[in-house]
């Protein structure tokens, strides 16, 4: 430990830290473009200059280690002057693109120019022109003029992904970022450079020009692309998700997320093929009906089967609460054949984030009771028994099980099939009753990731079930001030319900006396009755998640 003084305040910090790290730990912000906590130090942007007593020149805070008794000034006259000069230099060749730049509103250069520069340029010559609208790869656009040569993107590819794909060419003010000859920026994590880029040089092709950042609300969410469960922010405008960005969690995903999760784990929420109302089959066709009708039909039909003729599939796509209540409902009905269908893709995994299990909650589903005690009850055995006619009715929680060919083959044999579905899918073709369920973006719930971390998910998109204001959902400026007759508040609100709520209503019809008002009630019951979740409450899971009691249960995913 060493004693240092920053801006007249004394701190005691570890001795191998740099000034910028020590300051950050103590809540002092030193402006920086090229420095990033998870990347190597390159020290090229020069905006982190600070004054250290007895040092003749200003030093860069990102590459200077603290020593005992160091006295640092981050706002002295010399520092302020130098920072302004650095910004003036950077702005010499930076185009006046803010009106057409997607980064505007979350741009470090904009922010620092406001905060630390006097906003005047003495430079009268034309700016250097470089290529704009360059496709660096399948997901990333580059505007070479906007690049301030901080090299964060290059270091990310080199150091984090281990795929050197980006490089600088030329010299001086003609430096240009490009990909290596014949290469593209196409690694599985390429879109993280968009978040890393302090300016709008690297932008998302998918989100390009879709919305201004200040018009969206951001909700803390969890990616459902695989069993890692990267923490995300879900950006919503007019009840439509427009982009996902990673949210820092040191125990799960650091600052990153993969391109697959970022692009593909939310598109179904606003897709045209959403199931907007409950349905049942009449004369061979699925028709829209009311909730009560659909439930009455499902329950009366289920009652007409013997206990051992019914089976249920939980879902590793669904939350702990959904699965727990399904298990509880089956238990109430005396049905013991329950399992879920795993979705493992061994070819698609790596050592950084991406896991082979393409569902967010197989650990949780198993722990809350979606499992077979013996092989006789496993999902394969259930399929066999459907084939040989022993199982006649099946209840399926949010999972398109018919994508597995051997399941699609036996589904026509069923006499009765109830499913929860958020989007039209293969399984629907065989279903007799379809409950319109909310996606993960429209409900509260918890997921348990591959290592047993329970993480909370919050609704970002509202359905008829909630009201943005009353339910405390994040509000954008437009949500806050919009009236009912403004077009930008007229985003579709669907008549879907969270799966646990649907099961709760069915159980009530079947005579169960459950009392759950909120998702929280379900989770707290799980925590108080299930030893793996012992000690957890919905409250104390917090924003970064909490670990289950591992010793109680073997946490492995079976394929």
């Amino acid at each position: 430990m060493v004693k240092i003084t920053i801006d007249e305040k004394q701190f005691e910090v570890e001795n191998n830290l740099t000034i910028i790290q020590a300051a950050r730990q103590n809540g002092i912000h030193i402006p920086h473009f090229c420095w990033h906590p998870k990347l190597s130090v390159s020290g090229n942007c020069r905006v982190c200059l600070v004054e250290v007593e007895k040092m003749p020149k200003l030093v860069i805070a990102c590459a200077t280690q603290v020593t005992d008794g160091m006295i640092i000034q981050t706002n002295s006259g010399r520092v302020v002057k130098a920072r302004n000069a650095v910004l003036e230099f950077i702005l010499i060749n930076h185009p006046l693109d803010c009106p057409i730049c997607d980064e505007a509103g979350e741009c470090k250069l904009q922010d620092y120019a406001y905060k630390y520069s006097v906003g005047e340029s003495r430079f009268e010559f034309d700016k250097v022109r470089k290529p704009k609208r360059v496709e660096l790869g399948p997901n990333v656009m580059l505007d070479t003029e906007r690049c301030i040569m901080c090299s964060r993107c290059i270091r990310f590819c080199d150091e984090i992904v281990n795929k050197p794909q980006l490089v600088f060419t030329q010299r001086g003010d003609h430096v240009e970022l490009t990909t290596f000859q014949g290469q593209k920026l196409d690694n599985d994590y390429s879109m993280n450079v968009i978040d890393l880029c302090p300016v709008g040089a690297l932008t998302s092709k998918d989100f390009r020009f879709k919305a201004r950042v200040w018009d969206m609300s951001a909700t803390d969410s969890v990616c459902v692309g695989c069993s890692r469960g990267c923490n995300t922010k879900m950006w919503v405008r007019n009840n439509e998700i427009l982009r996902l960005t990673p949210r820092f969690n040191s125990s799960v995903n650091q600052y990153w997320m993969c391109d697959h999760g970022r692009l593909n784990s939310f598109k179904n929420v606003n897709a045209a093929n959403r199931v907007n109302a409950p349905m049942f089959r009449k004369d061979g066709m699925l028709i829209d009906v009311g909730w009560d009708e659909a439930m009455a039909r499902a329950t009366s039909e289920l009652k007409s089967f013997k206990k051992n003729e019914i089976a249920a599939f939980g879902s590793a796509h669904s939350t702990n609460e959904d699965n727990y209540l399904l298990a509880k409902l089956m238990n109430h009905m005396g049905v013991h054949r329950i399992d879920f269908v795993p979705h493992i893709e061994d070819a698609k995994q790596d050592s950084l984030l991406i896991k082979a299990d393409k569902t967010p909650n197989s650990t949780g589903a198993r722990l809350v009771g979606i499992k077979s005690d013996t092989d006789e009850y496993s999902y394969r055995a259930i399929i066999d028994d459907i084939r040989n006619g022993k199982i006649k009715a099946l209840y399926v929680l949010d999972d398109d099980i018919a994508v597995v060919p051997e399941i699609a083959e036996v589904l026509p044999k069923l006499e009765f099939l109830v499913i929860h579905a958020s989007n039209e899918n293969q399984t629907m073709k065989y279903a007799d009753v379809v409950f319109a369920s909310s996606t993960y973006a429209e409900k509260h719930g918890t997921f348990t990731n591959f290592e047993g971390r329970v993480q909370k998910n919050k609704p970002a998109v509202s359905t008829l079930e909630h009201d943005r204001v009353l339910d405390g959902m994040p509000l954008s400026r437009l949500d806050r001030f919009g009236a009912h007759n403004d077009r930008w508040t007229k985003g579709i609100k669907r008549d879907t319900r969270a799966s646990w709520r649907i099961i709760n209503s069915i159980a009530a019809i079947l005579g169960a006396k459950w009392k759950y008002n909120k998702c929280e009630d379900v989770f707290n019951e799980i925590a108080s009755t299930n030893s793996s979740f012992y000690g957890l409450t919905y409250e104390n899971i917090g924003v970064t998640g909490a670990m289950i009691q591992k010793s109680q249960e073997q946490v492995t995913v079976r394929s």
Partner: protein, 166 residues
Amino acid sequence: MENQKPIVHRKDLHWWEQFYIPQIINGMRITLSQVFRPKFTRQYPEEKWNPPASFRGRPVLVEQNGVERCVACGLCSRVCPALAIDVQASETELLKERYPVRFEINMLRCIFCGFCEEVCPEEAIVMSKEFELVFRFQEDAIFGKDKLLISADKLKDRLEYLRKNR
């Protein structure tokens, strides 16, 4: 009771004032003198008024060479205190990269403050001289690009005024 205001008695009229006749004659004199002065009233709507360049009528989008100048930056929408403007950007092949696929101003919300004009980095939205706005349905009050786009030559007055008063 103590807080009550004291009753103010009106001053009694002077004996000369109590006559009334001189007062009436004086009033008639003023009326008569007005009759022979030039008229300021206008036979609106038969007779139209052409407002000066400084007038803030409904905001319109400036069209130049067949396209809007607007790059759909959304600043007008952000600054509008009445939240009247809705802009959706998209990509164009033109040099400006962005353009508004949808640009709507809700004229029931607009309060003619002119902030949108002031904030626009492209001089793409300006206050016109139009002030006659009548609608039968709320929906009709939402002006899309079809109603908003006005060619630059028709807005010369205002554009010049803006340059002079920057």
